[in-house]
Amino acid sequence: MSDFFTVSVLVATLASGIRLATPFLLAALGETIGQRSGVLNLGVEGVMLIGAFAAYYAALETGSATFGILMALAAGAVMGLVYALITVVLHAEQGISGIGIFLFGLGFTDLLFQKQVGTPIPIRGLQPIEIPLLSDIPHIGEIFFQHSLLTYVAFLLVPAVWFMINRTTFGLNIRAVGETPEAADTLGVSVNRTRTATIVIGNTFAGLAGGALALEVGIFQQNLTAGQGFIAVALVYFGAWRAFGVMAGALLFGIVSATVLQWKTLGIVSGAASSLTAMAPALLTIVVLVVVSRRSDAPAALTRPFDRAA
């Protein structure tokens, strides 16, 4: 255990925690936007897988990680349109249709991977960008300022999403249709158009989250996300539907995951016990859900489709 509490190991763990938090953060921010408008998207896991494969395959074929990012964004946006059709137009039950999206993403990416790639070929993923001057600060620089592009993007999106939800007209519309869609409709806000927009934005974030994961590890495999998308949905509850709360949750999960990995590497826990410690994020989520469920911050119209005739 004493091996763990050295400055260099702690610094490396925190830095890797921030790196691991990136996919969680991107996906959970997107989910926050959707849920604030009253739409639960449980398919994040599937969309992340599709984004991850899109990024991996594009980068594999072209050698360009940037092109990979673009394809992840595009794949997410397309899935957003599909999910908008399912929930906004067809009014499908959101929890169950999300599982459908997950199964589709799981099978579809596995299919494409086996057919188009076959054996896992590593790609040259995103390279760390050292921020001039700041990255030279001892320890602090290594923890915060030597990450890849998407990590910076994810954390810069936190204030951006906060601003969009709380300080723009669009954000006001999002909150209005998420709380009282009938009232918003009376005031001339198109509920379904607003929700379609948030769903597309949210899924684009989820696609990017998958891309961030694939381009970080530089590989794709079946079920690469391994539940991260589901945890991202739970993080929205954790963060009480607020951008900065979600960021805190993503950081906590990233650092817990990094610690578990670090302990395994250092041999502090055995291979078997590392499975036990890998339960920590899921158990932590449940505990957090128990705590936050007493608060009534959830958008009032969450999972409730809107129909003017009803």
């Binding site: 099978g107 589901f230 078997a272 339960m279 899921a282």
Partner: protein, 386 residues
């Protein structure tokens, strides 16, 4: 358990009584067609998407579906394999019917299968010398207990702490998968073996007996059908079922009617989990290796039945008896997917993707279905009036 007929009826959801008024055959036909149209249309739509995907992958869709059907239903052995593949889907699916009818969305089938399998394995390891007539039922009960506990936890969390069961069941899937991985690397790993994540060959007295006919078909398939019938009786022929469905239909009204809503939620998820737990036990003791194997990840053991069972149940209209043919169909897709892979080199993962499409189409078309029946109702009313 009292029968439905003696239960107070005014608290139950007002389902239109088909015998109330003699309906012309044509209108009943419309309703039956509307009910059938949803699952059949969903499969047709999914198959169309599948055909497009096959074309895009350079395979002939007709040949692909022929290989799929041949592999699934083309011989006695194929039918037996299909039945075996459909067994966990049916068990999970019956559990899904119970949970969804009670208004709780159980996405924890994966975890409940795993904990059921663990509990059943522990039973077999603890009492390996019991005679087969006792040990086989005991391991199945063990599975039910394990899965039931793993279902009751999110039930209690929802009922008494207000935690969304969708999220808690998903988290408990992750916990169960990691716990399985831990046990098979540590406490339950085969002694002295190469370090593969699996138990020893479990007591032969716990093996599920093979069915006559010379195929791989075993008792688990029969058990699954019996559980489906029991699930039907529970939901539609017992007072408890009336209560569960009433709670699912309208929890507020049920509370005013004096029903224990919170307890009902826990019960529904416990029953639901127990069904999946039996699937876990049957997957261990009906397997050809007769071991609990965790190598290759938890999903390799569960065969994703925790999710695919949801597909089967939705396809069966959340009715335990209709879930029997629905599971057989999806079991056939999984078996056929393997021959699709063998003959056309199209990965069987296509079937997983298509299952997802079916889910989306089934839940997406429910609104359409309610519109059709509303239209049929309106037509009847206008005819009665004229």
């Amino acid at each position: 358990m009292t029968m439905l007929d003696t239960a107070p009826d005014d608290a139950t959801p007002a389902e239109p009584d088909p015998h109330e008024q003699k309906q012309p055959l044509s209108e009943r036909l419309i309703e039956v067609l509307a009910a059938l149209a949803v699952p059949l249309g969903a499969v047709l739509a999914a198959f169309t998407i599948g055909a497009i995907m096959l074309l895009a992958l350079g395979a002939n869709p007709l040949k692909g579906y022929a290989a799929l059907l041949e592999g699934a239903f083309g011989s006695w052995d194929a039918l037996a394999d299909t039945a075996l593949k459909s067994m966990p889907l049916l068990l999970v699916g019956v559990g899904i019917c119970i949970a969804f009818r009670a208004g709780v969305i159980n996405i924890g089938g994966e975890g409940q299968i795993i904990v059921g399998a663990i509990m059943a394995t522990v039973f077999a390891l603890a009492m390996p010398d019991l005679p087969r007539v006792l040990l086989v039922p005991l391991v199945l009960i063990g599975g039910a207990i394990g899965g039931g506990i793993w279902g009751a936890i999110p039930g209690a969390l929802k009922a008494y702490a207000g935690v969304s069961e969708i999220l808690s069941t998903i988290m408990l899937n992750i916990v169960a998968a990691q716990f399985l991985s831990f046990l098979l690397q540590d406490l339950l790993i085969e002694e002295g073996a190469i370090r593969i994540q699996q138990t020893e060959r479990l007591s032969a007295n716990a093996d599920l007996p093979l069915m006559p006919g010379g195929t791989r078909l075993h008792l688990g398939v029969l058990i699954a059908i019996l559980v489906a019938i029991a699930g039907y009786v529970l939901l539609f022929r017992s007072a408890l079922g009336v209560r569960l469905r009433a709670v699912g239909h309208n929890p507020h009204a049920s509370r005013y009617a004096g029903m224990p809503v919170k307890r009902s939620i826990v019960q529904a998820l416990a029953f639901s989990g127990a069904c999946s737990g039996i699937a876990g036990a049957a997957l261990v003791f009906g397997s050809e290796s007769h071991r609990l194997i965790g190598e290759g990840g938890a999903a390799a053991f569960t065969q994703n039945a925790g999710f695919n069972g949801i597909v089967a149940a939705l396809f069966g209209g959340l009715h335990p008896l209709y879930t029997i043919p629905a599971s057989f169909f999806f079991g056939g897709m999984l078996t056929g997917g393997i021959s699709l892979q063998r003959e056309l080199q199209v990965p069987a993962a296509l079937i997983v993707a298509l299952n997802g499409v079916v889910v989306v189409f089934v839940v997406g078309s429910l609104r359409l279905r309610s519109k059709i029946s509303a239209w049929s109702d309106a037509r009847r009313r206008s005819q009665v009036a004229s």
